[in-house]
Symmetry: C2
Subunit: 306 residues, 2 copies
C-alpha cells in the first residue's frame, strides 16, 4: 500500500498525470492532449509514454505499482469502461481500465472525475477527517459526489450526485436541458457568463471567471450575478443537507475560485431553507486541492489495489 502510484485526470481536451509518492505528494507531472479523434489505442499509447517519462523520475530502485484514472461520467467503475460521456465522444464504450492495465502491466482503477476529486478532498484536502461530506464541482456544468460513512455513495449506476439539473425555481431561467431554474443555470461558469450578458444587455464574450473578476472590481451587475450563483449553491446545499443529513460541503471547479463572492451568499442562504437545527450545522468551504484533488483521489484509489 505504500508504493509510488500515478493519478490521471482525463478531460475533454487535456489529460493531467501526477506521480504520487508514498507520502501522497505529487512528485512530478505530465500534461498531454486528449485528442479523442485518434481513438482509444493512440490515447493509451500517449498515456503509456507519459507514464514512462514519470517513471524515469522515480528514486533509484523504485517502480510504479498502480495507476488510477478518472474521466467525465457516466463511467462504469465495476467493468472499468467509459459509457457515453458527452464530452468524450471518441471514447464511448472504451474499456479504458483494461487497456491501460494490459499496456502498463500494473493494476489500474477507473473512476468518475467528480468522485475521484471527492476522494482526494476527503483523504487529503478540505474533507480530511470527516466521515461524511459532499464535494460539489461547479465549472462547465455542476455535479457532486457524496461520501457517507467514509466511502463513496454511488447509487444504482454509479451516477449519484447529479445535482446540475435539480430544480430551484420551476418558473425561473431556461436551462440548456429544456427545464427551468436548474442549479447549473445559475451556478455553472457558462450559466454565470450567460446571466451577466443577459443582465448587461450587451455582447459579453467572457467566462464565469471574468464575471467574478468584474464583481471583485466593483461591477454591481456582476456582483448580483455572483450573489445569485451563491444563492443557488445555498439552495442546492439546503436540499442535500435535508435529504442526506450531511454537514460538510466542499466546493471545487472553476467557480470555486470566486471564493467568498459565491461562498458567502451560499452560507447566508442555507439557514433560510433548512428546517430546525440542520442549517446551523452546515459548513460550505472551498476545495483546498483545486485541480490536484482528482489526481490525488485517483492515486489513492489505485493504491488500494496494491
Amino acid at each position: 500500500m505504500g508504493g509510488w502510484v500515478i493519478g490521471v485526470d482525463l478531460g475533454g481536451t487535456k489529460t493531467e498525470l501526477g506521480l504520487v509518492s508514498p507520502g501522497d505528494e505529487i512528485a512530478a507531472r505530465r500534461r498531454i492532449p486528449t485528442q479523442q479523434a485518434e481513438g482509444p489505442q493512440a490515447l493509451v499509447r500517449r498515456i503509456v509514454e507519459a507514464v514512462a517519462g514519470l517513471a524515469a523520475e522515480l528514486p533509484p530502485g523504485e517502480r510504479v505499482s498502480a495507476l488510477g484514472i478518472c474521466t467525465p461520467g457516466p463511467v462504469d467503475h465495476r467493468t472499468g469502461a467509459l459509457i457515453d460521456p458527452p464530452n468524450l465522444p471518441g471514447l464511448h464504450h472504451t474499456p479504458l481500465r483494461d487497456l491501460l492495465a494490459e499496456a502498463l502491466g500494473v493494476p489500474v482503477s477507473l473512476e468518475h472525475d467528480a468522485k475521484a476529486a471527492a476522494l482526494g478532498e476527503h483523504r487529503f484536502g478540505a474533507g480530511r477527517g470527516a466521515d461524511h461530506m459532499v464535494y460539489i464541482v461547479a465549472g462547465t456544468g455542476v455535479g457532486a459526489a457524496i461520501i457517507a460513512e467514509g466511502r463513496l455513495f454511488r447509487g444504482q449506476h454509479n451516477a449519484a450526485g447529479e445535482i446540475g439539473h435539480m430544480t430551484l425555481d420551476r418558473h425561473g431561467e431556461l436551462c440548456t436541458c429544456g427545464a427551468r431554474g436548474c442549479v447549473q443555470t445559475y451556478l455553472s461558469g457558462p450559466g454565470i457568463a450567460g446571466r451577466y450578458q443577459k443582465a448587461a444587455g450587451t455582447a459579453f464574450n467572457g467566462t464565469g471567471e471574468d464575471v467574478a473578476r468584474l464583481a471583485g472590481a466593483g461591477d454591481p451587475l456582476a456582483a448580483r450575478v455572483m450573489q445569485e450563483a451563491g444563492e443557488a449553491l445555498g439552495l442546492a446545499v439546503a436540499a442535500m443537507a435535508g435529504m442526506l443529513d450531511v454537514e460538510l460541503y466542499v466546493l471545487g471547479g472553476s467557480v470555486a475560485k470566486a471564493g467568498s463572492l459565491v461562498l458567502e451568499p451560499a452560507r447566508r442562504t442555507v439557514p433560510q431553507y433548512c428546517v430546525g437545527s440542520v442549517g446551523k450545522r452546515v459548513r460550505i468551504v472551498a476545495s483546498t486541492l483545486a485541480e490536484d484533488a482528482a489526481i490525488l483521489g485517483c492515486a489513492w484509489q489505485a493504491r488500494q489495489l496494491t
Copy 2:
C-alpha cells in the same frame, strides 16, 4: 430469528401494536391512546398491558421474543431515545427503548417512523426484492427514508430523508417554515386542503383526502390542486433520482390514498426534470402495506435482535 415479535407504531394521538408471526403476518392488533400528558412511565405501562393482551393470543408454548417501536423523528437510534419530536412534546428525551426493554424483559429496537415504514415496504411490500428504494410519506408533513444497497441510509444524525422543505419554487407558495415553494406546501394533506381553500375562495374545512374525493367526483379546482400535488411529488422524485441514483419510489401516508390522481402527474413530471436516461428508469408506486408498513418494519428490525 424465527419467533413471534411485536411491532409498535407510536403516533401523536394513538399507538398501534401488531403481534407478528414467524411468517411476518400481523396475527393480532391493539390500539391505545398515546396520551403524552400522563408522562413516559404511564405510556410504558399502557404499552406493557397491550403487549400482555397480545401475548395472550399466542399459540400455546410460544412467547414474544422482541419488540420494535417507531416514533416521529428526530430519534437517536443508537441510544434508543426520542430527541425532540414536535408532535410528542410530552416525550422529549425519553429513553423509550431502555424503559420498554426493562419493563418487558425482551430486546427492544427504536426507529424513526418513516424509516420503519421504509423497512416494512422494502422487506414485505412495494419494495420487495429491490436493493435501492426511497419511501416517501405524505400526510401531515412530507418525509422520506432511503434504502441503499439493501439497508437504511441514515446520514450523520439519523435524519436523512427530510425532503418536506426542499425548495421547488423559490418564488412559490409560502410555507409554514417561512420559506416559499417547499415540497410540503403542495404535497402534504394540510397543503392540499389549504391550496384548495385558497383557490375556491370560500371557507373549506375539509382535509387533503376530501380534496382528493372532490377531484375524483369531477371538481375541476380540486383536480388542479391534486395535479399540482403530483407535480410536486414528481419534482421531488426527480431531484432525488439525480442526487441518489435510485429508481424506485414508494408513496405512503394519507396522500397516497389519492392513487393515480397524484401518481399520474408525478410520473409525467419526472422525465421533464431528469437529464438523460435517469428519468426513464424511475418508477413511482403506491405503498402496498399502508399503515401496516411501520408495524411490519419495526417487527422486522426487532427480529434482528433475537
